[in-house]
Amino acid sequence: MEENNANVGAIAGAPPKKHNKFVQFFVDRGLRIKGWFVDKYTAIKDFFYVFTKAGRAEKKARMAEGPQLSRGERFRRGLKTQSGWLFVLPALLLMAVFTFYPIIAAFINSFKQGYSDMTGKFNGWGVDNFVRVLNGDTGTGGASFVQCLVNTLLLTFISVPLSTLLALLIAVALNSIKRIQKAYQTILFLPYLTNALAMGAVFATFFKIIGTSSNTETVGLVNIVLGWFGVKPIDWVGLTSPHWQLGSLSIPWAKYIVAIIYEVWSGLPFKILILFSAMQSINKQYYDAAKVDGASRWTTLWKITAPMIMPQISYLLVTGIMGGMKQYSAIIGLFGDTMGQDYDMGTMVGYLYNYIELGQTGYAFAGSLILFIIIMIITFFNNKITKKRTTYR
């Protein structure tokens, strides 16, 4: 919110000189970035004001103005006004141990070179861990960072828009019917409750080929259905799963399809629910007005429904992408502990656990920090985009 105000201020402060569209684009970006820094600077200055000479003087003056209280009274009052701390104390203690400390530890440990979690020994400080993680030069035969990053990004940026679009279609359809709406809604919500590991295993049976190359027992449900249309059986999840090789990077497209189908299936319920309840809460008067104006159904959808639920759509995209960046257990459920063949379906989070299991916590710490930075960057862009979008409202 602050950020937004700062932007507005920055833009308003500069005289609106007209540029052509191309130049204006960069001017806008520049002003916005500048605004962001100015804002942060102001905040920091404000915070440290009390520590400056002027600030201290002001505080003293304020103290002198107020009624003079005895020390005991002041203590009692202080205790009373600060009793909120007592309420947050349990949460604070727990978070100090299990949240704040680990963050600090992760930052520190990721800069320890050759860190051994077993002995706590390390060779010295530096960015060696990061370099090795990014180069894929860990020498442990574990997952490759670039592969994991590409997998995660591809899977997320394909499956999230896809499932959001599908959810939108279903929500519109749900919204337009009257009878047995609840029943459809309930059935469509069911996948939300499932366990990624359990349902991943079920999906794997749809795609799995059982048997040997010379004596196949079953090629799995999906291959059989595809077989009706003359498609030869594909080894979707097994070792001979087809893939494209781009240098050292492999794109196991068949496994991608399986993972995307699962992600869409498991992501739909939440998205349908959000979009549907958003649609339900749109004031019926808008639709009546549209009807009077003679707007077609399509127009109504695009001119009324879509803008009204835009905040929800952008929310779903943001949370979907965040969730997608952290996917892990579905991959384990579908492709087993090694995340495909030689981790070719590894994800970012999978990478971390892989290196924890290999006892290379230095790399795991470094990887988790890189993941954090990537998520921050995505969040930053998400915020920029969604802010623009929601202004349509």
Partner: protein, 373 residues
């Protein structure tokens, strides 16, 4: 097309039915659309006006009549398409559950038939007996299904209830009380939501090890008691309660705690119930942390599922001594998919039952989280 139906085997009638339904739907839609166009042409109205909603626009009674009929046809067409689409989606959403349930009672031989059956020839309920009488490969002395279930329930209940207490008092403090550094602290807590939880895992593992908390329920409960997201959700909920109520309560001599217990909690009960349910579901589904910190007798139900289930020789059983499901043709080392599906059912069905009874609260809780963020 007849080949298609025949190839799906005797049990393929469900597929056949689905296919027939879909085809019938498509045919019906085509007929309706054709009819619609014919009517449009008959009415000799400019096609552009078809989309007009206003029915009173017709200047003669005859036209209005025609319009009305067209409207109805269009309505039916639309409805058929919409229902068709929703049915297909619902079938696809439910298919994995159906597959899971029928696979869990199939025999392994039937499961591996080159053309899968959509309804089991024989129901083998012994699959369930087998998985209940199998300890996980890692376990001896207690990691049977019963033990795992008790673990999951105890941890689920304790962590939900204790967590709720912590969440409520923290949310209350943030919503209603004033203390120095409140906003800074709240901001700090919210900021941690941006950080992937995996970052914590490694250090937390070392912490609990050094505190010697491994192999206990504590270690499964304590690190997850605080949920910043739910605190945030509940705080917003608390803040929606008008301030005048608080003033009134103060006048009546209620303390902060009394106000919280007697006014706020009852008012926000639906949200609290939703949080309780969602937290319980979350605990039920936890997998990574229990696997990392605890050995089998202390693990949770999802850990049990991934153990892999084999046709193990049972020294005693209702069907005689030294009994196996398949007389050893799958050996005692091959993980069988049907048994795995039975185990998956045991994990998934309780959640589905919970959902049937608490559908409203669960869906409300999930949708509520959508309006904020």
């Amino acid at each position: 097309m007849s080949d298609l139906l025949l190839s799906s085997g005797a049990g393929g009638w469900v597929v056949a039915l689905m296919v027939i339904l879909v085809i019938a739907g498509i045919i019906a839609s085509i007929i309706l659309i054709v009819k619609l166009f014919r009517m449009v042409r008959e009415s000799k109205m400019p096609a552009a006006k078809v989309g007009v909603w206003d029915l009173s626009a017709g200047d003669s009674g005859f036209d209005a009549e025609r319009e009305k009929r067209m409207e109805r046809v269009r309505h039916i067409t639309k409805n058929v398409l919409v229902y068709l689409f929703l049915t297909i989606c619902a079938v696809l959403a439910f298919l994995p559950f159906y597959w899971m349930i029928i696979s869990s009672v199939k025999t392994e031989t039937e499961f591996r038939e080159s053309v899968p059956t959509f309804f089991p020839h024989t129901f083998q309920w012994k699959n369930y007996w087998m998985i209940f009488h199998q300890t996980t490969s890692t376990a001896r002395g207690g990691a049977t299904f019963q033990q795992i279930l008790i673990n999951t329930l105890v941890v689920g209940l304790l962590s939900t209830l204790l967590g709720l207490v912590v969440i409520v008092i923290t949310a209350y403090a943030f919503a209603r009380m004033d203390f120095k550094g409140k906003n800074a602290l709240f901001g700090l807590m919210l900021a941690t939501m941006m950080i992937p939880g995996e970052l914590f895992t490694i250090s937390n593992y070392i912490t609990v090890s050094q505190l010697q908390m491994k192999n206990s329920y504590t270690v499964l409960i304590l690190p997850f008691l605080v949920s910043v997201y739910y605190i945030y959700l509940l705080r917003n909920n608390f803040m929606q309660i008008p301030n005048s109520l608080y003033q009134a309560a103060k006048v009546d001599g209620l303390s902060d705690m009394g106000y919280l217990l007697k006014v706020m909690i009852p008012l926000t009960a639906p949200t609290l119930i939703s949080i309780t349910l969602l937290r319980f579901i979350g605990t039920w589904n936890s997998y990574i942390w229990p696997r990392l910190v605890n050995t089998a007798p202390w693990q949770m139900i999802t850990n049990w599922v991934t153990g892999g289930f084999v046709d193990r020789l049972q020294p005693t059983s209702p069907w005689g001594t030294d009994w196996t499901l398949y007389g050893g043709i799958y050996g005692n080392s091959m993980s069988l998919d049907t048994l795995k599906m039975a185990a998956v059912c045991m994990v998934s069905l309780p959640l589905l039952i919970l959902f049937i009874f608490c559908r409203r609260y669960i869906m409300r809780g999930v949708s509520k989280s959508g309006t904020k963020g």
